[in-house]
Amino acid sequence: MVTTLIDTQQNTWSDVFSTKYGAIYQSDAERCWYVDFAGKVAKFDYRCLLKLKKAVYNVDIEAKLLQSTKDPDIEILFICACDHCYILSLLQIIALKDLLEGTFVMLQLNHILQDRLYRIAI
């Protein structure tokens, strides 16, 4: 996984969280996140990232695992008003959920740090 990517406008992406299967970066300049998962890097703003999280968390993984029907284990995550759509297997859903869980913990941690270290010091 790349640690820090530099784009053409010298825009730094900060690492938010990464796993064996993907990574999420934040661009302060563009006020958005880049989700590197399932073979593509997709840009999400605040609302869309929350929608992605909701869509992933809404998949009932346990129910899918217990399902004995023969249809394929494929989930289509379509996120309203966002440009991206994911077609994922159940294992990928689990991996994406992992990635998002870690990401939101890190964002929360960042919020606490900003609060306790910087905002109070100013």
Partner: protein, 176 residues
């Protein structure tokens, strides 16, 4: 790394979800009161019907207060789906018993949000909730007073007619 989420919204995702849940509860209360107004009206309890119409209006205002607060803080307010409104009551008294139950539920729900905000040190939302805590004092008082009329006046003879006449007079003006 900038705190992008905080820039977009004053309230946390958890508090936002709780507030949206409260929007739904207030909308539900409004719909229930409307149903009570209808039942009282066609059973001949005109004053009580009027009382519940007013309550339905108030609950709608509460719903909008929460709704606008969520938006003002940068959150996403969700217009709720309301189903499962009870339309039939077994007795005049049952209507008021349900009304009190409902207000107790709302008070508990608001206290629950308050507790969450304290934990997060979201004092801004707590300050907003203070208005509702005070309002719930009045709401529970009125509902309890109404129910007490059934015991004080009694339902025999022209009792229910008397109770109905007194429902509209219930007021809460505490100095506290």
């Amino acid at each position: 790394m900038k705190d992008l989420i905080r820039i977009r919204s004053l309230i946390s995702a958890e508090v936002e979800a709780l507030l949206n849940q409260q929007v739904r509860k207030e909308a539900f209360s409004s719909a229930v009161y409307l149903s009570m107004a209808s039942w009282c009206n066609h059973n001949g309890y005109d004053y009580s019907s009027e009382y519940f119409f007013k309550q339905a209006d108030e609950e709608r205002q509460h719903q909008l207060k929460f709704f606008k607060y969520i938006l003002d803080m940068g959150g996403n307010a969700i217009s709720p789906e309301i189903t499962g409104i009870k339309q039939e009551y077994n007795s005049f008294r049952e209507v008021f018993e349900d009304a009190l139950d409902q207000e107790i539920n709302v008070t508990q729900s608001i206290q629950n949000i308050y507790a969450r905000c304290l934990k997060e040190q979201d004092f801004v939302t707590n300050e907003f909730l203070n208005w509702f805590l005070k309002e719930q004092r009045e709401e529970e008082y009125k509902a309890r007073r109404a129910l007490e009329l059934f015991d004080v006046i009694g339902e025999e003879g022209t009792g229910r007619w008397q109770i109905d006449r007194h429902i509209g007079d219930i007021k809460y003006d505490s100095g506290a």
